[in-house]
């Protein structure tokens, strides 16, 4: 594992210095800082609106960061020949890939953590409150978002073993949109038989073939301010979501390793 951690640590160091990622992060942070003023424009002007806006910005920024960070991880290493010096050492290809992935997950977690901190500060200042009771949704949702983004990063990592970064960017983006917006609908069709048999079958296949990112969402109602404790059902939902993400990530990484292992570099 020493090799994996060494590669992961280097990946983190490189990721947090990449200009394009820093720019995306800065734009995300800027939006998060001005989110409270957007809330004032809202007719509802409620706490919930501020949370929704902040989490929405956080989610989109994190997804762009996850894909942008991961699509170039392997191609850059090959193009710059760094991978040759690494693989000429006693390092298996799976260790390299795993190290790269873990590094990207750590870098993503740090970025999501930083954005979460800004969201909490902006929320606290605007709402004039620092009670844990009120800010807890702003901790729980980003926490689950780390797993969501880790899953998205694994999708990009898999694609990066056989497609170019540009194609990977669009493919990963499509998977993200499908898995976030459309897959929950397919899941309902597949499960409840609301549609015809053929549609149900297609819906089921699509539902299992594409990760369902909404499994890692905390229900908006459960994430509202005032939810002091993680309620029992919510804890189960979060645990299920984490298990789902970990299993899915493992499957994606195994497939990625199988492809990468035979890849001509």
């Amino acid at each position: 594992m020493n090799q994996v951690f060494a590669i992961a640590a280097t990946t983190v160091g490189e990721a947090i210095r990449r200009r394009v990622l820093l720019i995306i992060l800065m734009v995300g942070l800027a939006f998060l800082i001005i989110a409270p003023s957007l809330n004032e424009l809202s007719p509802r002007g409620q706490q919930q609106t501020l949370i929704d806006i902040s989490i929405g910005i956080l989610r989109i920024t994190a997804a762009i960061l996850a894909v942008t960070l991961t699509v170039y991880l392997l191609p850059n290493e090959v193009e710059r020949r760094t991978i040759y010096t690494i693989l000429s050492k006693p390092v298996h290809r799976y260790q390299f890939l795993l190290g790269k992935y873990l590094g990207s997950v750590v870098a993503l977690s740090l970025m999501i953590g930083l954005m979460t901190l800004v969201v909490i500060l902006a929320f606290g200042i605007q709402q004039q409150t620092w009670s844990l009771e009120r800010i807890s949704p702003l901790i729980k949702v980003p926490f689950m978002m780390i797993f969501q983004m880790s899953l998205l990063a694994a999708v990009s990592m898999l694609f990066s073993t056989f497609v170019t970064p540009v194609i990977n960017f669009f493919l990963s983006g499509l998977v993200w949109i499908f898995g976030t917006l459309i897959n929950p609908i397919f899941e309902r069709w597949g499960a409840q038989g609301e549609a015809s048999d053929a549609v149900t079958l297609v819906a089921r296949i699509a539902h299992y073939a594409v990760p369902n990112f909404s499994n890692l969402d905390i229900a908006q109602g459960a994430a509202t301010a005032g939810a002091t404790q993680i309620r029992g059902s919510e804890a189960v939902h979060m645990a299920n979501g984490i298990v789902y993400a970990v299993v899915y990530v493992c499957i994606l990484l195994v497939v990625a390793v199988l492809i990468f292992d035979r890849k001509e570099l």
Partner: protein
């Protein structure tokens, strides 16, 4: 002596429109332990592809290869070898010390050992004062030296160096060349792919010249470069002497009394000198010219392009 590298019918082919393109074509190569072996060839000859196959970075289409007595693909052999790719890139945000620490971690070395080796190697490659500078601030020569330092972290038995002196200034060039010569004194096997023929001629024991994936010449340098030429220059030589000095293999030029004879070094110079002197000519110089690797390279590739066979010199 045992072979550090051994390939048998090693082949790399790609499917292209209308057939197969052979990048490396049934390569049979033996590199002995402890020698510096020059692997030469024009661009696209298959040199880097061969190295990549020996390092399991790409996989052969057919044939076999052994490195340090083990089949390629066994990751454990990588503990005893190193690779310096052409135009390498090192993470620019890291310092020289951090780079060496990173590569040492890949060998699962402990922290104290990593530090000790990194400091010693920075000293050895002349970067002791630049160990805490970021790679981004390194010159090309410094980057090449840190590359060699990372190659030495595991005290390898076998080093693969791909164009180690390409694009370096003369001073850096000499420094890298001297470092490679030290490797031989330490008993390491060095496999160099290079276009810098003057370097190869100075440091290599044996060479192979590759063209379109096929070895066209192979052997000890002293054997391959045997058979130099002699250039004799004289003045006040009458035109009538031209036919007398013309011999097999000699190129004779006589213009306005100035005679230049370029002949194989197997000829007797006495005959020329006597003939010139007796005709009233004056010998200006007799210069033996050793055959250069560049000459051999150009001749071999030109002959290969004309469809010539393999030149093999045993020994």
């Amino acid at each position: 002596m045992a072979n550090a590298i051994e390939t048998h019918e090693l082949t790399k082919a790609y499917t292209v429109r209308g057939g197969r393109a052979f990048v490396v074509d049934h390569l049979n190569l033996q590199v002995e332990e402890g020698e510096i072996f020059g692997f030469l060839g024009p661009n696209g000859a298959g040199k880097t592809t061969t190295i990549k196959m020996l390092l399991s970075i790409i996989y052969p289409t057919s044939g076999t290869a052994k490195v340090l007595g083990e089949e390629v693909g066994d990751i454990n052999i990588h503990r005893q070898l190193s690779y310096l790719p052409e135009k390498p890139y090192y993470y620019e945000h890291m310092t020289g010390m951090e780079i060496l620490d990173f590569y040492a971690r890949l060998f699962r070395m402990g922290k104290a050992e990593r530090r000790e080796r990194a400091e010693r190697l920075l000293q050895r490659v002349g970067l002791a004062d630049a160990g805490f500078k970021q790679i981004a601030q390194y010159s090309k020569g410094m980057q090449q030296r840190i590359g060699l330092a990372q190659c030495l972290l595991n005290d390898p038995k076998l080093l693969f160096l791909d164009e180690p002196t390409a694009g370096l200034d003369p001073i850096a060039h000499i420094e890298i060349r001297d470092l490679i010569l030290q490797f031989r004194e330490e008993g390491k096997t060095v496999f160099i792919s290079s276009h810098e023929l003057s370097d190869v001629e100075r440091i290599c024991d044996r060479v192979a010249i590759l063209n379109r994936g096929v070895v066209k010449a192979e052997g000890k340098l002293e054997d391959l470069l045997a058979g130099g030429r002699i250039e004799i220059t004289a003045e006040n030589v009458p035109e009538s002497l031209r036919d007398k000095v013309q011999q097999d293999g000699a190129i004779v030029s006589l213009h306005e009394g100035r005679l230049i004879v370029d002949a194989p070094d197997t000829i007797s110079t006495d005959g020329f000198v006597d003939a010139i002197r007796s005709a009233g000519g004056k010998i200006i110089s007799i210069i033996p010219r050793r055959r250069r690797l560049e000459d051999l390279f150009v001749e071999t590739i030109a002959e290969a392009e004309r469809g010539g066979s393999v030149q093999e010199v045993s020994g």
